[in-house]
């Protein structure tokens, strides 16, 4: 049972459990999919027993339901409600503490986060989303120190997607369904003839941990079956987005009547920005202790859909929902390219599923393209 250089390995369900416990044994907290309150969410898991066995999902605009798959699949669903964003760009984190005393003020940086964590069941779109956030929060002239420190200590145990949902369009965005890189280990789940996983090794850390797991080399049939899983997934995308020239399409249609149309449906609830794995906007809150001497500055998630987001003495820059929705969508698929050399959308479909009124980002882009004021129509 030697892991040969390019050859893929095969582990069974028990092997997956050994793998998860080996990761825990090496000091990783495991964060992975589990069923909670009628949805698959990301949370702490111990082993295979916490994974959503035999559970699938149905996702359509504004609708999410779990369903019984009638098999033993452990990763038989698209993307969970949460993204791994909440583990790297924390919803709340202390930025600085400042204590005021008789002799002046003492500025105290928070301790550098020290938390080894393994992301279990990460999809290709979610790896792509973290890479987008890396560019925003880590690779610019200034970095978010907390994000960067957390990011350094992540072990990625990816699972190739075999169950895209009705709101998925990673193929259009070029982010999936197959994860080609960005993981330590990537599994492909096979349900027949036996429940097993084909394992790709991405890094030396992945290779080391896999060495602790009972395994054998994958057969040619197993490798072929694994390739078929992602190939089939690619053919079952629920949605598509034509991204041809999308940056110029959006920026030359800032006065398109579709913005009025979507503003009449949008509630401005910010669900899409919370569910989105790349939305990175944050606010800073100031609090003090009861004496007023110790002040804390806390970074927390914010959303461009809130009225206060662009507050400027006396009023907001974007008082209308038309302006706020347009800001979100044009940033996501257009100006993100100018800022970070990549789209801000990875095609995970969360914003469509979790929108309470079922606004569909792919439909909005298509509507603008279909009636574009300029000749920006793609093929």
């Amino acid at each position: 049972m030697q892991a040969s250089a390019g050859g893929r390995m095969r582990i069974d369900v028990n092997g997956l459990d050994v793998l998860l416990r080996a990761l825990a044994d090496e000091g990783h907290e495991l964060v992975g999919p589990r069923v909670q309150d009628g949805a698959i969410v990301l949370g702490p898991i111990r082993g295979v027993e916490d994974l959503p066995r035999g559970v699938g999902d149905e996702q359509t605009p504004g609708r999410y339901r779990l369903r019984a798959r009638g098999d033993d699949a452990l990763f038989g669903y698209a993307v969970p409600q949460h993204s791994f964003k909440k583990e790297l760009l924390l919803p709340r984190v202390t930025l600085v503490r400042i204590r005021r005393g008789k002799t002046g003020a003492v500025v105290e940086a928070p301790p550098r986060p020290d938390r080894k964590v393994a992301f279990v069941g990460m999809r290709a779109c979610e790896i792509a989303a973290v890479e987008v956030q890396d560019r925003v929060l880590r690779d610019g002239p200034w970095m978010d120190a907390d994000y960067a420190a957390r990011r350094e200590q992540v072990f990625v145990l990816a699972v190739q997607c075999g169950a895209p949902s009705g709101t998925c369009f990673c193929v259009s965005m070029g982010t999936g369904p197959k994860a080609e890189a960005g993981f330590d280990l990537a599994l492909t789940e096979l349900l027949a003839p036996e429940h097993a996983f084909v394992v790709e090794v991405g890094t030396e850390a992945g290779r080391r941990i896999l060495a602790r797991v009972p395994r054998r080399e994958a057969t040619a049939e197993e490798e072929e079956a694994a390739a078929r899983v992602v190939c089939d997934a690619a053919a079952r995308m629920g949605r598509t987005m034509d991204t041809t020239n999308i940056r110029d399409l959006m920026m030359s249609n800032l006065e398109h009547p579709r913005w009025e149309d979507v503003a009449e449906r949008c509630l401005g609830c910010a669900n899409c920005t919370l569910a989105c794995p790349t939305c990175f906007c944050t606010d800073v809150e100031d609090t003090t202790d009861l004496s007023g001497d110790e002040a804390t500055r806390t970074r927390r998630w914010d959303s461009c859909f809130t009225f206060d987001f662009a507050y400027l003495h006396g009023g907001g820059v974007r008082p209308s929902l038309r302006g706020r929705y347009r800001q979100w969508l044009t940033h996501k698929v257009a100006t993100w390219h100018d800022q970070f050399g990549t789209s801000g959308c990875v095609g995970c479909g969360r914003c469509i599923t979790w929108c309470p009124v079922g606004i569909d980002i792919t439909e909005e882009v298509a509507a603008i393209r279909a009636t574009s004021a300029t000749a920006e129509r793609g093929g």
């Binding site: 400042i98 003020a105 940086a109 200034w142 800073v284 100031d286 400027l312 800001q327």
Partner: protein, 279 residues
Amino acid sequence: MTATTARQTRSPYLPTPMVVAEVTRDLEDVFTLSFDVPEGFPFRPGQFNMLWVHGVGEVPISISGDPGEPTRLVHTIRSVGNVTRAMASLGVGSWLGVRGPYGTWWPLEQVRGRDVLFVAGGLGLAPMRSAILHVLSHRADYGRVTVLFGARSPAQLLFRDDLQRWRGRFDCWLEATVDRAGRDWFGPVGPITHLVADVPLKPETAVLVCGPEIMMRFVVRELERRGVPDDSIWLSMERNMKCAVGLCGHCQLGPFFVCKDGPVYRFDRIAALFDVREV
């Protein structure tokens, strides 16, 4: 772009406490805080700092001091929100958290040898004061220097001592207008665009504009009418800012983060967005 060449791995959110050395009441709701910085606080005219009041909050404020006097940091502030109101109650000896300087600056090196026209509205004179002081102390490097200033009323004339000093120089032309006036005012009354309409301009005159967005919109329109090319106009833009380093997303203006790609823009770079509402 920003002055940062090496990547900053230190948390950008840590302020430096600084003690207020001097407080000046400029107008009823405008005041100036000065800090002594013996080790120097180098900045370029047009840049801003984030100023933090203990337990209240943090706001971006442009630097209005003399760049030739880097040991004295000067900020001119309008009391308009809860943070700036808290700042208004600070006296000499109290302290603020300061981080910066951030953002782009007026193109004073770039426009050397050219005529320079400053157009400021209201508190827009504050980030321009540093630039005017620099130009006047390097007077031989520039051609004709003109300052146009618009205020709501004669009582709202900011930096009155400076205005009188600049107006008294023979190598600088200053004109001020107000929106409304009583009998104590003998100058022009009306929008600043009227002053722009009459000012002598050469094709290569560099125009620096700062003020409320609506005022800048009309000034730019007038400058275009007078034939000033878009790449000879610079504006200082304003947006909500929380981090000042391009991480929080608040200050976006189309593809730009005003905190790090701005606040000073050459107009041709933002012209396409300038007339779009709610960008």
